[in-house]
Amino acid sequence: MANLTINGKRIIVPDGITILDAARRNDIYIPTLCDDPRLEPHGGCRLCLIQVKGMPRPVTACTTPVTEGMEIETTNEQIERQRRTIVELLLSDHPNDCMICDKAGDCTLQELAYFYDIRSNRFAGERRQYTKKDLNPFIERDMEKCILCGKCVRVCDEIQGLGAIDVAGRGFTAKVSPAFEKDLNCEFCGQCVSICPTGALMGKQSVGKGRQKDVKEVETVCTYCGCGCNVTLHVSRNEVVRVTSRPDTINEGWLCVKGRFGYSFINSPDRLTTPLIKKDGKFVPASWDEALDLIAEKLSAIKEKHGPDAIGGLSSARCTNEENYLFQKFIRAGIGTNNVDHCARY
């Protein structure tokens, strides 16, 4: 363990962690745009510059490990001036369209602009301008909003193990791009979307469906494979409009293409909405009472005539434990047979 002081407060933290991590663990705020605790330290955005006593100039909190006896100052006039300038520089090359941006209210850059009260910009000048074109159906890339923090590039490489994108070009022409500036063609896990601090990367299906302040968030579990990823369903007007995941879950906030983008079946116009009874080979809508009475009558008659073992039930790995419990209880106790199984073998 290492003893250190941050802003005069004495704290004890494990050896080897970064100053940023130490501050986070003690609820001390240091701004950052490029850091994520799940990624390797990067030191790109320079917003986390802090002063360590005895060091000649500020250092980045996200890449500097703590050492015994360190005395750290996370804020002072000089540091705040530097941070403000960094944000101002970023905003000088950013479309000023928060009014119509889907990310508004959930955007780290917007938060920082608010925090530093940046209205006018000393560095206003030429902006990078790109036409939005990406024919993939999942991820909208607006490179004008990109601040080149590199999180998307790093998550794709470090976490997803794919490396589908990288920074192409240098200086003013630098931009995040798939190989040869083609359209994105990857696993479409959307980790990049989940980690982007601005509106540069958005889920295409969510655009225009409501900003964060307008959605209700519901924590649940994904309906696809057996990993059991925790998902947050973002609901607006009885419709799931976006799926995310919290970093403090078993899946660490990461999802796959199905979990993150495969949700619109919930609201599909194909959903069955009424019981159907087949009459002369055609389905006819029926009331619940009609349908359930018919089933009970038919099953009872078959049970009466051929015994309970003439009836079988196939349950579902898609349904909950409670539903599966009830299903087998119904087949075993209600009908009287052990002919019950589900789709585990397929």
């Binding site: 295409k204 909405t273 389905f283």
Partner: protein, 527 residues
């Protein structure tokens, strides 16, 4: 899984056999990649060059259906080179006797190489690597189980772990990755023909009496039929009615023609689903159910973690919660099951199965709990078999390599293996209705090795005809180095070119009754 997902990153060695983890368990794969970044070594045994192979130190490309030979071959090397964990074997296991050794003795790397097609030196290398670690995890899925000798494959996997003491501790175990969100839970809850909830056998009188007392009714003494047995029984007229909830056997079960015929032979078929599936089309009554986003309850994931499911939206139209439908039906059949809230059902599960007795919705609120969790102060179980096995000692099972039931011949010279791909899910009833997913993965394909394609003048992207002893489908060719020569792969998601037209409903594992989806003899020709 005997271990937990979080333990994966601390494995020293990962042995992935018969699992296309990156496509089918993407988040487990991320943990494997994390382990790799931390220095772990990865061995993959798979007939296809699955995406995880990119991260592998050793890739054993064995012929479909030769897993037992491969595993016995690895054990041969481990025994011969004295890499076994003697202490573990003598204190924790039984059955590692002369007979077992004699059997293993026959599987020399050279002999195994001939059966599997894997170079002998790779078998030796993999064996040394796996046995050299005491934090080695085995990960497998349907590539191991979906065979006419699937149970024996699983025994072999267990033998390998027992031999090296890689079981019953952190980051070392035998980890089947479950393929569906609540397939673990459905099995736990007793939706299997031989067991009540919690794997308690229906044929044991004391257990039956316990459930008769809990459910206040006389119960059948006879084991039921499995899904793979119910359909043939329907065809024979033994089963007259089926109630299917949230399943689409027409597409997911082997031999579509047989499945359809069996379902049509029923006097009465009820299907409860959220969509008009291919199976629902055949029903007499279809009941509209609720999706996962519309209900309250729990799912149990592959690491035995029971987690809360919460309602986000209302069901469309007059669609009902599945639990309410079952209760209504049961009442009308004269057996009242009355619960005011799902939490009451959950409490009853705890009464039925001690391993979940310590769980409550309140305790599951934050992150869930892993069974066994017998008491309210029990923290749940991160990994299984710490300090011993439920049956006492871990048992070695003598397993001999058997050829697959369905062999290739002059007429059907290719081995077909089926599975999932990244974008689609199972029979596609959900994912094929998601527009962006269907845009990137619109249709079925057959992967064929360039060598075979050239010989048969099959061109990438062109339609081909694939036939088995059951039937034929027309499907687009994808010339790819993923499968080896002689092996083809078709994903089973697509009803227009349903892979299960080709698979067999009769070559089942004698114990588990699982179909042998991973090995069917087929012919492929230009359309």
């Amino acid at each position: 899984m005997t271990n937990s997902m979080a333990e994966i990153e601390n494995n020293d060695v990962l042995f992935i056999i018969g699992s296309n983890t990156k496509e089918n368990h993407p988040i487990v794969a991320l943990k494997m990649i994390k382990a790799k970044r931390k220095g772990a070594k990865i061995i993959i045994a798979d007939p296809r060059r699955v995406p995880m192979v990119r991260f592998a130190d050793i890739w054993l490309q064995h012929k479909p259906g030769t897993d037992v030979a491969l595993l016995n071959g690895m054990m041969h090397v481990i025994v011969k080179e004295g890499l076994i964990k003697k202490d573990f074997i003598s204190s924790m296991t039984e059955g590692f006797d002369d007979e077992f050794r004699k059997n293993i003795d026959e599987y020399t790397p050279d002999a195994v190489s001939k059966i599997t097609g894997v170079p002998a030196e790779l078998i030796v290398k993999a064996a040394r690597l796996y046995a050299g670690s005491d934090k080695a995890g085995i990960y497998y899925t349907m590539g191991i189980t979906q065979h006419a000798h699937g149970t024996e494959n699983v025994f072999s996997v267990a033998n390998l772990a027992l031999l090296t003491g890689n079981l019953g501790k952190e980051s070392a175990g035998v980890n089947p990755l479950r393929g569906q969100n609540n397939v673990q839970g459905a099995t736990d809850m007793g939706c299997i023909s031989n067991s009540y909830p919690g794997y308690q056998r229906v044929t044991i009188p004391a257990i039956r009496e316990k459930f008769e007392a809990l459910w206040k009714v006389k119960l059948s003494e006879k084991e039921g039929l499995t899904a793979t047995e119910m359909l043939p029984a329907a065809e024979k007229g033994v089963i007259k009615a089926l109630y299917i909830m949230g399943e689409n056997p027409v597409i997911s079960d082997p031999d579509v023609a047989h499945t359809t015929k069996a379902l049509k032979a029923l006097d009465f078929l009820v299907v409860q689903d959220i969509f008009m599936t291919e199976t629902a089309e055949l029903a007499d009554v279809v009941l509209p159910a609720s999706s996962f986003a519309e209900k309250v309850g729990t799912f149990t994931n592959t690491e035995r973690r029971v987690q809360r499911v919460r309602r986000a939206v209302n069901s469309p139209g007059s669609a009902m919660k599945d639990s309410l439908i079952i209760m209504e039906l049961s009442k009308r059949m004269g057996y009242e099951m009355s619960y005011h809230h799902t939490v009451e059902i959950f409490r009853e599960i705890g009464q039925a199965w001690p391993a979940m007795a310590g769980m409550s919705y309140a305790r599951l609120e934050d992150g869930g709990l892993q069974w066994p969790c017998p008491t309210h102060d029990h923290p749940g179980t991160q990994f299984l078999f710490k300090g011993g096995f439920p049956r006492g000692k871990g048992r070695f099972s003598l397993v001999k390599y058997k050829q697959s039931v369905e062999l290739t011949d002059k007429d059907y010279p290719f081995i077909l293996t089926t599975g999932r791909q990244l974008f689609q899910y199972h029979t596609g009833s959900m994912t094929r209705r998601v527009k962006p997913i269907n845009a990137v993965s619109p249709e079925a394909y057959v992967e064929i090795n360039p060598e075979d394609a050239k010989r048969l003048a099959i061109v990438d992207g062109k339609q081909v005809k694939v036939s088995s002893r059951r039937g034929s489908i027309m499907v687009k060719a994808r010339v790819s180095k993923w499968p080896n020569a002689g092996v083809i792969f078709i994903p089973f998601h697509f009803k227009e070119a349903a892979a299960n037209v080709l698979t067999s409903s009769t070559s089942l594992d004698p114990l588990s009754k699982i179909p042998s989806f991973k090995v069917s003899a087929v012919r492929i020709e230009k359309a």
